[in-house]
């Protein structure tokens, strides 16, 4: 039925396999439909919420955010289907090119990016400001997974671990310098996730964990104490104010406090158009970082719980694909994507609910923003590709 069954060990996979039926040809038959539905439902809810909650945000253009997010969503969905049909294994071969592209683009914003709020992280394109670090999350996973597979037999375990860490932390450091602390943290987590699924020993993670604790202590306690702060003042305040929001009523703590009030005020079924916290600007950046609070206030626990359930579904299906993958590369990629999505979801929702610091990490598929929506859909397309390829290879087995 398909050509993959007859592939020899070292043959290259066909990038565009020719299938018989239409569904086969589009790769739809072997898509993970729960994953697709979860992703589409999230972006649909995002569009719906933006349409209702941002009507007064842009004077004279009540549908500004609605229209743009719809376009991003449609582009994203198309991108997802395209990637579904591509054999992700191609990316392993392209790892050096992908990695180079990633590092180049996140570097170029320093020179050609436009500055917004003291940070250079995006290129201004005619209809769209493109933020390379968003797509970079996916690129990093694709490239690093390739490096891990490729280097699996080279060097000692310690050398390998150090190599992976360096490969992952280089772009993370570049993004950190933009400065974009939140995205750089996603890079770090994605790197660790790929290493984790790549079999790096537990002991190494223990050491990395210890080093992380030491680093955090250095950044937040020691460096400011000796007068050479590494984080900018607002970054540190955002990171620590959630621990005692009342002390920062007017600054970072204020935003978070307002977000918590908004969410809580939604109660079980939400306030609908009576929502005041998010409608009257008490919650800042509500269409980006605090959209979960908007949903919480407008649609209550039912809305937020629905969204959280979709993310849980998304994470479960992504994790499931790690076990179905026809090869280790797919496992690593799927694991990296799954954990990155989980991390972004948890940090953003936790920030909205006042239990995580403000890091500026968008909520995948919910927050307004073309780069984030596109990148997330492309990542899900890669997951779909892994799923499709697993089915096509006839070697997949159903884990759950």
């Amino acid at each position: 039925m398909n050509t993959y069954a007859t592939r020899t060990r070292n043959s290259r996979p066909e990038p565009f396999a020719v299938h018989v039926g239409l569904g086969e040809r589009l790769g739809l038959a072997h898509m993970d439909w729960p994953l697709t539905i979860a992703a589409v439902a999230l972006i649909a809810f995002s569009v719906f919420t933006l349409g209702q909650a941002t009507q007064n945000d842009v004077p004279g253009d009540p549908n500004y955010f609605l229209e743009r997010q719809t376009i991003y969503a449609l582009l994203g969905i198309v991108g997802m289907f395209v990637l579904t049909r591509i054999d992700y294994s191609r990316f392993r071969e392209l790892r050096v090119g992908i990695y180079t592209f990633l590092c180049t683009t996140v570097t170029l914003v320093f020179f050609f990016g436009f500055a917004a709020r003291g940070s250079r992280r995006a290129f201004e394109l005619p209809f769209f400001s493109f933020q390379p670090s968003e797509l970079g999350k996916l690129l990093l996973v694709l490239a690093l997974a390739g490096f891990v597979i490729d280097g699996a037999r080279r060097g000692s375990e310690v050398q390998r671990t150090v190599r992976y860490l360096c490969l992952g932390l280089a772009p993370a450091g570049l993004v950190f310098l933009q400065p974009d602390l939140g995205t750089s943290l996603v890079y770090v987590v994605a790197t660790l996730a790929v290493m984790y699924f790549g079999g790096v020993p537990w002991t190494h993670f223990a050491v990395i964990g210890g080093a992380l604790v030491a680093l955090i202590a250095l950044v937040l306690v020691v460096a400011p104490a000796v007068g050479t702060p590494i984080l900018k003042g607002y970054q540190e305040e955002r990171l620590t104010s959630f621990l005692n929001p009342d002390e920062h009523q007017s600054g970072a703590g204020y935003q978070q406090n307002q977000s918590v009030i908004a969410t809580g005020a939604g109660q079980l079924s939400g306030r609908g158009d009576k929502a005041t916290q998010t409608r009257l600007d008490f919650v800042p950046e509500r269409h980006i970082d605090f959209i979960f609070a908007v949903i919480g206030e407008r649609y209550g626990f039912m809305g937020d719980a629905f969204v959280l359930s979709l993310y849980a579904l998304l994470f479960w299906r992504a994790l499931r694909i790690t076990t179905l993958s026809k090869n280790s590369y797919g496992t690593l990629v799927a694991g990296g994507i799954a954990v990155a999505l989980l991390f972004q979801t948890f940090v953003n929702v936790g920030m909205n609910l006042g239990i995580m610091p403000i890091t500026g990490i968008p909520l995948p598929l919910m927050s307004y923003g073309g780069s984030s929506v596109l990148a997330t859909f492309l990542a899900i397309g890669v997951l779909q590709s892994i799923n499709v390829q697993a089915h096509l290879s006839q070697k997949g087995r159903f884990a759950w």
């Binding site: 070292n10 908004a262 969410t263 009257l280 008490f282 496992t331």
Partner: protein, 618 residues
């Protein structure tokens, strides 16, 4: 290492890692769900309340103060709508240089120095941080128009409609009505101001102060919906509770009489004061002081006005000389000396004294005014021609006792008059104890002597009193011994004129005055005012209403003589005491008596033709 990309990763090691990742994910989602449940379902009520509270702001709607009316209902003080220049300091430019430039531009427009602008802001921020600062009240429409046309040059500047006190007759009763101003920090601590907030206006003097709680209304409130910047949102007016205007205060003052007094005194062109009071119930019909001022100048005084109003210790236009002055009174004091001597049995009304023009006590000689000898005089004659020698002798008789001081004290000299205005000055009734105490402290060169009492007997020497206190003494004489409580507050009315409260001022005390003595003194005063060679006959001789009156010419150090006149009218059963004094006005009949005449003419609404200038000697 389990990695072998050519085949599916091997089973158990990967499964463990996936399971651990799944477990971590499950825990994280559980944390989020739990937090969400806690926030929205368990504590939702609290957050909803907080959100409600967040989005509304209460805006106070200022209540206009009540009007101040005279006893006939004529308006002395009302309100007019005015525009106030306000500044929202949070919207000032962040750049210090730009901020300074804007404040300087504003100051120039509002006729304030940059320093004063900054000080005003600092002061208002101290009492009400974050609230808009009222830079200047009562600005002109031209200024407002200019600022609105050049809005971009004045970020944060706004105009608010406020009520400003309006004085239709300018200086009329200026010292009585007082002024209003923002409640200060000390006042806010007092119980009577407990409902007030910084920035609220309260009376700062006169009846505005004493009757503040009636004049002050209750502010209303409008709850409006605001966004996070505190800006009102469209259609967001939620609840509106209209303000309750203050009630009107009707004064005992008769506007026409007041005008007559102010006109008469003003015509003298000298500092002075007058008071006209009902001797039975203490209602003050007119009271004034010269120089005077227009209370509207106090709202936003210019620098020149500040200098003139507040910094001139000689003219001191804000001082109500009728209640805050401190003067010797000259001969109008003699009724007190007479009463003391009569009641103590030193003399009878018919006791005859030989007035040779002067007496000698020890080495001192005390002369009549001008050294005139009046010959044999009894009480009535002594009052008519104002024989000093007669009263010198009474003072000499009583110098070792405290009888003169006791009577003066009983009649209200040297003690608070109980007036319903905050402005009452310090006065002094000199006595033995006072001077001996000073002598002990080496603040004077001699102890109490006969001379001191001789001086007091004719209202000279160290006596420091004011027209109000003298009015009480004359009132008691006129009504037979009742000291009324002087007051200007008559009643409180609502806007429709319904009386809400009538003020009852009980007499302060009663003293026993022998009716015969009273009659004798009044006879003497009547003769002085209107008979023959009476000291004021030149002024009141042709006045159709019979009165009892007494001139006074007080000698003051470093000043020309101060003119006094006290009148009880009508004679012989007086209802009203009227007293005027003119600093450096010369003889009593010369300047004070004509002022009293002006007042009495207004009171009795008679166009009496009195000889205009005083001629009689004292």
């Amino acid at each position: 290492m389990y990695l072998r990309n050519d085949s599916k990763p091997q089973g158990s090691r990967l499964s463990l890692r996936v399971a651990v990742a799944g477990g971590v994910g499950a825990v994280l989602f559980a944390v989020l769900f739990f937090r969400l449940w806690n926030l929205q379902v368990l504590s939702g009520d609290e957050y909803l309340a907080e959100a409600q509270n967040n989005r509304t702001r209460e805006i106070k709607v200022i209540a206009p103060r009540g009007d101040i009316l005279d006893r006939n209902g004529e308006v002395l003080v009302d309100n007019r709508a005015s525009l106030a220049l306000q500044l929202n300091t949070t919207k000032l430019p962040e750049d210090p240089a730009e901020e300074k430039a804007e404040l300087a531009r504003l100051g120039e427009l509002a006729h304030m120095s940059l320093r004063k602008v900054r000080r005003t802001i600092a002061e208002e921020e101290e009492v009400a941080a974050g609230a808009p600062v009222t830079l200047r009240r009562d600005v002109g429409f031209e200024l407002i128009a200019y600022i609105e046309e050049n809005q971009e040059e004045f970020p944060g500047v706004s105009v608010e409609r406020v009520f400003v006190r309006n004085y239709p007759d300018g200086t009329r009763a200026a010292h009585l009505v007082g002024s209003v101003g923002e409640v200060d920090k000390e006042e806010l601590k007092e119980p009577e101001f407990k409902d007030l907030e910084p920035g609220d206006e309260v009376g700062k003097g006169g009846v505005e102060y004493s009757y503040d709680k009636f004049l002050r209304g209750d502010p209303g409130h409008t709850r409006i919906q605001v966004n996070a910047l505190g800006e009102p949102t469209p259609g967001g007016q939620l609840v509106s509770e209209p303000p309750t205007p203050g009630n009107n205060l009707k004064l005992t003052i008769d506007g026409e009489v007041q005008a007559a007094g102010e006109g008469g005194l003003g015509a003298r062109g000298l500092p002075g004061a007058f008071i006209s009071m009902n001797i039975d119930n203490g209602e003050i019909l007119a009271m004034g002081s010269n120089p005077t001022f227009d209370p509207s100048e106090l709202i936003e005084p210019s620098q020149a006005q500040v200098d003139q109003l507040y910094r001139d210790p000689v003219l001191a236009p804000l001082v109500n000389r009728a209640t805050e002055g401190a003067y010797p009174t000259g001969s109008i004091f003699k009724i007190i000396t007479a009463l003391a001597a009569l009641e103590n049995g030193q003399i009878t009304p018919d006791t005859v004294v030989q007035d040779n023009g002067q007496i000698e006590v020890g080495t001192d000689t005390f002369e009549n005014a001008g050294g005139v000898a009046h010959g044999a005089v009894e009480l009535r004659r002594a009052l008519q021609v104002s024989s000093d020698v007669y009263f010198y002798l009474l003072g000499l008789d009583m110098w070792k006792t405290n009888e003169l001081q006791e009577w003066a004290h009983k009649l209200g000299i040297g003690r608070p008059a109980g007036l319903d205005l905050p402005e009452e000055g310090e006065t002094l009734l000199p006595d033995k104890q006072w001077r001996n105490q000073l002598f002990k402290e080496k603040l004077t060169d001699r102890p109490w002597s006969a001379g001191d009492n001789i001086q007091l007997a004719t209202g000279q020497g160290d006596l420091q009193t004011n027209p109000l206190q003298m009015a009480l003494a004359y009132a008691a004489l006129g009504n037979g011994g009742t000291i009324p409580t002087p007051h200007v507050g008559l009643e409180v009315e609502d806007a429709a004129g319904r009386v809400l409260k009538e003020f009852k001022f009980k007499p302060q005390r009663k003293i026993h005055i022998d009716p015969g003595f009273r009659t004798a003194i009044l006879e003497g005063l009547h003769a002085a005012a209107q008979e023959g060679d009476g000291t004021a006959a030149g002024v009141f001789g042709g006045f159709p209403i019979e009165i009892a009156g007494k001139t006074g010419t007080a000698e003051r150090d470093d000043h020309a003589d101060q003119s006094w006149f006290a009148a009880l009218s009508p004679y012989p059963n007086p209802r009203i005491v009227t007293i005027a004094t003119v600093e450096e006005g010369g003889f009593g009949a010369e300047s004070a008596a004509p002022v009293v005449l002006d007042i009495l003419e207004a009171i009795y609404d008679k166009q009496a033709s009195a000889v205009s200038s005083g001629g009689g000697a004292e």
